[in-house]
Symmetry: C2
Subunit: 147 residues, 2 copies
């Protein structure tokens, strides 16, 4: 255990990352992060876990489940700071996912706007203003806003 400043207690790590200690224990149980143990069985997290936890938080903000994040983190090294190449490999996937999310939300926003601003040329075609639901053959659910 060379250099105590490379290792932090669970409380220090939690504070540093803005998560609860219980969450850190939970993540470790799920295999997402790892710790060493000192003679009193207290955890010691390597500094590289800060970055790893940050990556978990980013992935969560993308809507990934912990299981999915665990899969993705399989491509990162456990015990050292990820290199640039490591990060590239991971974030390429996530950028695709982000692009898709942005596209869907943009389309949804545009469809909202279009129907509001009289962008629609036909009351028959505009399903939102089709009060008799004539377009029932289009399929179940609010197709008109997602398609």
């Amino acid at each position: 255990m060379t250099g105590s400043s490379n290792y932090m207690t669970i409380g220090e790590t939690a504070k540093r990352c803005g998560v609860a200690t219980s969450a850190l224990r939970f993540y470790e149980q799920k295999g997402l992060i790892h710790s060493a143990r000192v003679s009193g069985n207290h955890r010691r997290y390597h500094r590289s876990m800060i970055r790893r936890i940050a990556v978990i938080q980013v992935a969560q903000s993308l809507g990934l489940s912990l299981a999915e994040i665990n899969d993705a983190l399989g491509s990162l090294p456990d015990q050292r700071t990820p290199t640039k190449k490591d990060w590239e490999r991971l974030s390429a996937d996530w950028r695709d996912r982000l692009d898709q999310r942005i596209n869907i939300l943009t389309k949804l926003r545009d469809n909202l706007s279009g129907c509001i601003g009289c962008g629609c040329l036909s009351l028959r075609r505009c399903k939102l203003y089709n009060p008799d639901d004539i377009a029932a053959e289009s399929g179940a659910g609010p197709r008109f806003l997602f398609d």
Copy 2:
């Protein structure tokens, strides 16, 4: 109960909207939708509930909780098809929310790209590649990707 084609059984409604009957019962319990009852105590949903359920589904895709949706739907009429004005009132709020979501995701994606593509001029300033975590004073969590 004029015009049986204005009312649908729970099965018909579920199929039409692409949701489960159990979800409809759940939403009704939560007060999000409403039904009439026939002599056998079977539910009958007015056609306007199709649109209302569609709105619920849209709001869910925005990440709103059912409680939040219930609040928002308070501004819509229960027993008739919402007018254009009704819809405008509701969707203005949601468009703001969509804009914010899109902005956050776009910023996140741009930060990912910037760091990958050597957009960063300083290894000290680029927190992602600051392996000794010198920027610890920036606050807890992955600030660099959200700010």
